[in-house]
Amino acid sequence: MTDVPWTGTGGVSDTQSYSWIILNAIFDRLSASSFFQNFSIKRITRALPIEAGYQIPSIGIYLGSETAVADGDPNAGDIRLQHTVPVGMQIVVKNNDPVAMQATLDRAKWFILNQLLRDNTLTNRLKTTIPDNVRIEGFPRLRIPSPDWGRDSKNETPIGMQLIELFYTIRSEWYPTDFPDLKTIVVTEYPENPPPPTTATGTGTGSGTSLTVTSVTGTIEPGAAIAGAGVPVGTTIVSQQSGTTGGNGVYTTSAATTSIAAALTFQNPIAIQHVDVVYQFNPDYVPIPLTGPHP
């Protein structure tokens, strides 16, 4: 099998396009309405001509040429499209009285606009009764040509025809079906300008790697660099053995010191704060394309 794998919802949109679903929704509403329910012909395809001799009155609801443009940047994220779909509605009636016939066509036109554009089950952008909750985003255009009376009024049947072209907008998003090579992205963020180190001072007396500090001003932190008489360069505080935390007490140093009541300076390490952000694709996630105009 060479099909691209994807899993739908089990609804009609797994196999039929949104525009076809909406076309049927419009057709179902109009064909069952009081105005059109008794029409001789109600069609959703224009594959066959209307026979004026015995198929009038008729209503046809037809799909026009669907176009789509990128919904956002075309090169970022999933593929998203904004579709514009024209629906052509063709109403054909007959009457030897031209004025009465035009009045009928006008009623038909007004009826259709009221039925479609006031129908919350069709036009609501959040919840509709259209299968799979396919949603119409909007109606960017409406075109209603002047009524037509046949070919230069030469028809044997006294016909009148009203055309309505209603454009609607839908959106689609096409998720990729698989990401086999990428599951996790880890990003560590550091502040651009680290804060200045804090310092502490005190009087210290060393004995081996034990350093007794008194008269502490500030806070001594583990890792602090020690400077003063009797302290080898590069010596740091490893831990505190006793005393007040960060204050007077006995500390363990990284090297032996020989200080005797020496004035010492402790430069604490810079507290660089970083944030780990992990982006992970759920390996168990099954993408669901074609299941709703916009997730």
Binding site: G60, V87, K94, T104, E156, T157
Partner: protein, 118 residues
């Protein structure tokens, strides 16, 4: 000497092909029916289905109407024809005409008188 197409040609054609008008203001006169297919395409750029119909015309000899004190038929007049073998009868309304040729024949476009629907 001029040639009278009405007398020498059309009159014989009408003898052969004309049908008698059986109702309306021209009852008793005769006319030749001519009908052919007509298809309406999409002229408006809108998505519509084609519509198939007939284009039906009626020819009369002007001299016959004059001789019988009839004015020439005009738009809106209704002419009725009885069914003739396999040709349906019915009432037709004149929608366009007359248009004339140079031989005394007038042609009209006609359409059926139908019950309005809806």
């Amino acid at each position: 000497m001029s040639v009278s197409f009405a007398t020498l040609l059309y009159a014989h054609c009408f003898d052969m092909f004309a049908r008698t008008i059986t109702s309306g203001p021209y009852t008793g006169m005769r006319a030749i029916f001519n009908s052919g297919p007509l298809t309406m395409m999409n002229d408006e750029g809108v998505v519509i289905a084609e519509l198939s119909d007939q284009e039906t015309m009626m020819d009369i000899l002007m001299q016959e109407f004059t001789d019988n004190s009839f004015a020439l038929p005009k738009q809106g007049d209704v002419v009725g024809f009885a069914a003739d073998t396999d040709i349906a009868g019915g009432s037709y309304e004149i929608t366009d005409g007359p248009s004339f040729n140079s031989g005394g024949q007038a042609t009209y476009y006609i359409r059926k008188v139908e019950t309005a629907a809806p």
